[in-house]
C-alpha cells in the first residue's frame, strides 16, 4: 500500500507540474467565472444559467482532463525508461498501475475541488444578492408573499443535490480515466489513445439509447442488432453519471439513485483497472 501511495503521489506531482493541467484549470475557472455575466442576459432565472454553465464546464473539462492526464502516464514512463527503474524494484505491477490511477484520481479531486469552490462561492454570493433584492422588493408586501419569493430563490440556489451531482461528475471522470488506462495498455501511440477515448466519450453517452433499442428488439436487421449489442456491451454508460442537468432543472436526486450510480461507477473502475493490470502484466518493457 505504501508503495502504491508513493507512486500515486509521485504521479500527482508529475501531473500538477504539467502545463496542460493549468491550461485546463484556468480555462475552467474563466468559464465558470464568466457564467455570472452570461447569466445576466437572462433576466429572472440567472441562478439556473449560472449553474448550467458552471456544471457543464466542470463536466466536460474534468472528463477531458481525465483522458489527457491518463493517456500519457504509462507510455511516457516506458519511453523514458523510468518504468525500468521502478519495476526493477520489488514493486508488483498491479501496484504500479494502481498507483498511476490513484494519482490521476487525486488530480481530478483537486481540480473539481478548485472549480467547485469558485462555483459555490459565486452561486452563494448571487443567491444572497437575489435574496436581499427580493427582501427589498417585497418589503411592503404580506409576509407570505415575501416568503414565497425567498423560497423560489433558495430553491434555485445552493443545495446538497449539487454536491451529489458533482460527486457523480467525479465518478464519470474516474471511469474515463480507468478506461483510458486500459486503452494505453493496447495502444501504440498517444494519439491513438486520445482518439479512441473521444469515441468512447461520445458513444458512452449514447450507450443508453443503443442498449434500449437493442433490448426492445425493435425488428431491425441482424447487423444493426449486433452493432447495438456491441455498443451496449463494450461501452460504459456515461449518461448514467450525467445527473447535472436534472439537478439544475430542479429535480431532486434521490439518495438511492446517487448510491446506485456511484456503485456502478466503482464497478466500472474496478473492472477496467483489473483488465489494465492484466494487460500490463503481459507487457515487456
Amino acid at each position: 500500500m505504501r508503495r502504491t501511495l508513493a507512486i500515486a503521489s509521485n504521479t500527482l506531482t508529475d501531473l500538477t507540474r504539467q502545463r496542460v493541467f493549468y491550461f485546463i484549470l484556468i480555462f475552467a475557472l474563466i468559464l465558470i467565472g464568466s457564467s455570472v455575466f452570461m447569466s445576466r442576459f437572462s433576466f429572472q432565472q440567472e441562478l439556473q444559467i449560472l449553474k448550467d454553465i458552471s456544471l457543464g464546464t466542470m463536466s466536460i473539462l474534468t472528463s477531458l482532463l481525465a483522458i489527457l492526464a491518463t493517456a500519457r502516464l504509462i507510455p511516457q514512463d516506458i519511453e523514458d525508461r523510468t518504468a525500468y527503474t521502478i519495476l526493477a524494484k520489488p514493486v508488483p505491477r498491479y501496484q504500479y498501475v494502481l498507483g498511476k490511477l490513484l494519482g490521476v484520481l487525486g488530480l481530478l479531486v483537486i481540480s473539481l475541488f478548485i472549480m467547485s469552490a469558485l462555483f459555490f462561492a459565486m452561486l452563494y454570493t448571487r443567491e444572497q444578492t437575489l435574496l436581499s433584492e427580493a427582501m427589498r422588493q417585497y418589503a411592503t408586501a404580506p409576509r407570505e408573499q415575501l416568503e414565497d419569493a425567498l423560497r423560489t430563490v433558495r430553491a434555485a440556489g445552493l443545495k446538497i443535490d449539487i454536491a451529489q451531482a458533482i460527486g457523480l461528475l467525479f465518478m464519470k471522470a474516474s471511469v474515463l480515466a480507468a478506461t483510458t488506462l486500459l486503452v494505453t495498455t493496447f495502444a501504440t501511440t498517444n494519439i491513438f489513445t486520445v482518439i479512441t477515448m473521444v469515441f468512447v466519450y461520445f458513444i458512452g453517452h449514447l450507450q443508453e439509447i443503443a442498449r434500449e433499442y437493442w433490448l426492445q428488439q425493435t425488428g431491425n436487421g441482424w447487423f444493426t442488432h449486433l452493432f447495438l449489442a456491441l455498443v451496449a456491451l463494450i461501452f460504459p454508460d456515461l449518461q448514467a453519471f450525467n445527473r447535472v442537468d436534472q439537478v439544475v432543472a430542479g429535480h431532486a436526486l434521490s439518495l438511492g439513485i446517487f448510491t446506485q450510480t456511484t456503485l456502478l461507477g466503482c464497478f466500472y473502475i474496478a473492472v477496467y483497472t483489473t483488465l489494465a493490470v492484466v494487460m500490463f502484466y503481459g507487457k515487456e518493457l
Binding site: D80, T82, Y84, A88, K89, P90, E284
Partner: protein, 281 residues
C-alpha cells in the same frame, strides 16, 4: 540458500518479433551464466550483442522465450526475487521534476523503506556519490554524469546484495568513470555482488573478477580475466632503473635458455591515466 549463486542463468533464449513481419530476431541465444556471491562479473560485448536484454530478463522486465533466470535461487518472474537487488539502467532517466533527495526518497519508498532509516540512508548515499551539494536541485538541471551518479545512489538505496549496472561508465568522463570503478571496488569489499555490462572493455578490465563475452547473443567466452588474457607461453618483465648492460645480459640469458625475446619497449602510461594525473593537479 547460501549455496545458491547470486545469479544463475540457464539455457536463456530471447527472440523479439520483427514488426510487420512474421520473422523473429534472436537477441540472446542459449546463454548459461553464473555470478557467484561476492564477485564482480562483467558482461562484455559490442553494441547489440544482447547484454541489456540479458540483464532485463534477469530483472524480470522482459520474459525469456525459453530458459530461466534466477536471483539468489528465486525465479526472475517473482517480485520478491528483486527484494535485495539494485539496478542502474543504461542511460538512466528519472523524473525531471524531482530533486536529488526526492528521487531517492521515492525509490526508497518503493523498496519499503520509510522514516528516519530512509532519511539517514539518503544522506549517506548522497554523500557517497558526491551529490550532497546538488541534492535540492531538480534533476532537469543535472548533467549526464550526475544522473549516472544519482542512478547509482538509487540502485543502492535498499542496501542490496546484488547490484546490476548496465553500461555504468558509458558517456561519463574519465574522472567520473574512475569514481564509479572505485565504488564498484568498494562494493566488492563489502561483499556485495556486482553484475555489470559494458562495451568498453578497457574501462571494466581492472574491476572485474570474471567476465563473460557475448557476441550476437551467444556467450562465446567466460572466465577469470587473467586466465582469459594470459598467453600461455609468454612472460612479461617490467624493470625499473635497468642499465643498458643489464638489458643486454637479460637478452643473452634468454638466448642461452632457448627462449625468444618477443618485444622490448619503454613503458608508457595509458592516455587515461595521463589525463587523470593531469586533471588531478
Amino acid at each position: 540458500m547460501t549455496a545458491e549463486p547470486a545469479v544463475a542463468v540457464r539455457g536463456l533464449t530471447k527472440r523479439f518479433p520483427v514488426p510487420f513481419t512474421r520473422r523473429l530476431i534472436s537477441a540472446v541465444e542459449d546463454v548459461d551464466l553464473t555470478v557467484n556471491r561476492g564477485e564482480v562479473y562483467g558482461l562484455l560485448g559490442p553494441n547489440g550483442s544482447g547484454k541489456s536484454t540479458t540483464l532485463k530478463i534477469i530483472l524480470g522486465l522482459v520474459w525469456p522465450t525459453s530458459g530461466s533466470a534466477k536471483i539468489f535461487g528465486r525465479d526472475s518472474g517473482e517480485v520478491h526475487s528483486r527484494d535485495s537487488v539494485g539496478f542502474l539502467p543504461e542511460n538512466p532517466y528519472f523524473y525531471k521534476f524531482l530533486t536529488g533527495t526526492e528521487t531517492l526518497r521515492f525509490f526508497g519508498k518503493l523498496c519499503g523503506l520509510h522514516g528516519e532509516q530512509l532519511h539517514q540512508r539518503i544522506i549517506d548515499l548522497l554523500d557517497l556519490v558526491g551529490l550532497t551539494n546538488a541534492r535540492e536541485q531538480r534533476l532537469a538541471t543535472y548533467s549526464k554524469g550526475m544522473l549516472q551518479r544519482i542512478g547509482l545512489a538509487q540502485a543502492l538505496i535498499n542496501d542490496p546484495q546484488l547490484v546490476v549496472l548496465d553500461e555504468p561508465t558509458a558517456g561519463v568522463d574519465p574522472a567520473g568513470s574512475r569514481d564509479i570503478r572505485d565504488l564498484i571496488v568498494d562494493l566488492r569489499k563489502r561483499g556485495v555482488t556486482v553484475l555489470l555490462s559494458s562495451h568498453l572493455l578497457g574501462q571494466v578490465q581492472e574491476v572485474c573478477d570474471r567476465v563473460g563475452i557475448l557476441a550476437n547473443g551467444k556467450l562465446v567466452r567466460e572466465g577469470k580475466l587473467e586466465e582469459l588474457l594470459a598467453i600461455e607461453n609468454q612472460t612479461e618483465l617490467v624493470l625499473e632503473n635497468a642499465s643498458e648492460d643489464l638489458v643486454k645480459r637479460v637478452q643473452e640469458l634468454a638466448r642461452d635458455a632457448n627462449a625468444r625475446l618477443v618485444a622490448q619497449r619503454r613503458s608508457t602510461t595509458t592516455l587515461e591515466r595521463f589525463f587523470l594525473d593531469a586533471t588531478d593537479e
